[in-house]
Amino acid sequence: MSKLLNKELQDQIREFLNMMKDKVTFVYFKSDKNCDTCEQTKMLLEEIADLSEKISFIEKDLNKDTEEAKKYGITLAPSFVILDNEGKYKGVKFNGIPAGHEINSFLSAVIDMSGVEFGFDKDLVERIKKIKKPVNIKVFVTLSCPHCPGAVSNAHRLAMLNDNIESEMIEAQTFQELSVKYKVSGVPKIIINEKHELVGNQPIEEYLNKLERL
């Protein structure tokens, strides 16, 4: 089977991944039932993992490895989480293949998780760390949406900076039932703790304003 990433993209991504500081691990969950994009998601993750010595790839089965699935709160397939250098889950999850524009939020998450500084203001980091309530952020995207990766990256960075925060990208067309459930008819659509909504690619300050008022 031919690769998803052509030579040129591989070179570009390899060079980008040179920025990584420490190691990260992808833990990917497949399912044998009704999963049209599982195979390709796995391919993408493996191809990317091959481009850097600092990335390891682990495959799990949503229906068999229930313990692990529970540990990372995985209920869908294809889904994956990115763990840090110490194998710790920091609340960074992707549901659906991060192709199209979403390759950008995926690669950003890899670099960020490897310990590269985000360059955030000190005050901003302080505010993020102060969030005490458990927070779940869902960011619905489509792969043709150029404004979506920014929204996903912001949410993931919040999660990386605070253990109370978990953030997940959800590809709206792969998970149509969820899109219907959360009434998604435009992306990016951000759902915080199941009931609060933000529309569009919001700067990190807007997220914070919302989180601080939860």
């Binding site: 570009q12 192709a99 199209g100 489509t142 404004h147 998604v184 435009g186 569009g200 990190i204």
Partner: protein, 325 residues
């Protein structure tokens, strides 16, 4: 098969190293990218700061009026532009919003959303435009609950549904064409007459699931959880009418992203940055190009050309004020 739209350039640490830039370009659409290209070729120390590469090209499906590229997808044209810029190794920060521009003696301080501040001798503002709003009741409430401003992003959510397109220019006509593969029915509602290119209007004639209401002004968007329809004024009969629909794409032009300069330079009554024939604003050292300026025609090739003009004018300006030529 999946495609990939890489925006991540080689990480540039130059943004931490350069103390004083010749030129900072704000915005990575056609105007900003071409401005940076020309400036780099002139040997300026130039960098780009932008939220996204390609700007409004990503809201466009097919572009058929950029010389040399027949019928190209907006995102492919953006990729072509970006590839070209990359060969020149222009340092770029993406995913970063410029928050504020301050003047400090003859130097401009550009404050970024990641907390950094860049110092530069000149600025090229190429921040383009954001979708213009209808400003009717229900628009905010149903935003992303039926109301959308980006067909390439959101068309798939309207599979087998009835959608309305508001507007009568090229982008409205293109929005209709973007929706054809998805929607079961499309209705254009526009307050006056068509302004779109003849060639696009010809294409619309072939769309049999299309209804067109001209001279019709949208008054209100209604619904409960999701939008359910609109109320509009049929101006030829002077009657208010109801039109039920699942979605509304608003394609009525753009508002200029000129907020960064509002206290620094002169804007016109439409909030566009007023520029002279060299793309210079009323403030020495600040130049602007593309959709953000008071230039009438908002087009890719025109924006790109303005970026080039600005970069060349900036080169001359720098030579004059900093090298005494």
């Amino acid at each position: 098969m999946f495609t990939f739209n890489m925006e991540k350039p080689k990480a540039s640490s130059l943004f931490d190293e350069v103390i004083l830039w010749d030129m900072i370009v704000i915005g990575g659409g056609p105007a900003g990218l071409n401005g940076a290209l020309y400036a780099k070729r002139k040997g300026l120390m130039v960098g780009i700061v932008t939220l996204e590469i390609g700007g409004q090209l990503h809201n466009t499906s097919t572009v058929d009026n950029y010389l040399g590229f027949k019928n190209i997808e907006g995102k492919d044209l953006s990729d072509e532009f970006f590839e070209h810029i990359k060969t020149l190794e222009v340092p770029i920060l993406t995913g970063i919003r410029t928050q504020e521009i301050k003047k400090n003696n003859d130097i401009f301080e550009v404050k970024l959303s990641d907390g950094k501040t860049l110092n530069t001798k000149t600025i090229l503002l190429a921040t383009g435009g954001a979708p213009r709003k209808l400003n009717v009741p229900g628009e905010v409430e149903f935003s992303n609950k039926g109301v959308s401003y980006c067909t390439t992003c959101d068309a798939p959510f309207f599979k087998d549904k009835h959608v309305i397109v508001a507007g009568g220019g090229n982008s409205a006509a293109e929005a209709v064409l973007d929706l054809v593969p998805w929607a079961s029915k499309i209705t254009v509602v526009h307050r006056s007459v068509w302004r779109a290119d003849t060639i696009l209007l010809e294409k619309l004639k072939a769309v049999d699931k299309l209804d067109i209401h001209l001279n019709s002004q949208i008054l209100e968007i209604f619904g409960d959880d999701l939008m359910k329809g609109i109320k509009y004024l049929d101006k030829s009969e002077n009657i208010e009418k109801i039109l039920e629909a699942d979605g509304l794409f608003i394609e009525i032009g753009t508002i200029p992203n000129s907020y960064l300069l509002k206290d620094l330079v002169e804007l016109n009554e439409r909030d566009e940055v007023i520029v002279d024939e060299f793309q210079m604003t009323s403030e020495k050292g600040i130049f602007a190009a593309g959709d953000v300026t008071n230039q009438e025609e908002k087009q890719i090739i025109i924006s790109a050309a303005e970026g080039a003009k600005a970069a060349l004018a900036i080169t001359k300006y720098l030579n004059k004020f900093y090298k005494g030529e």
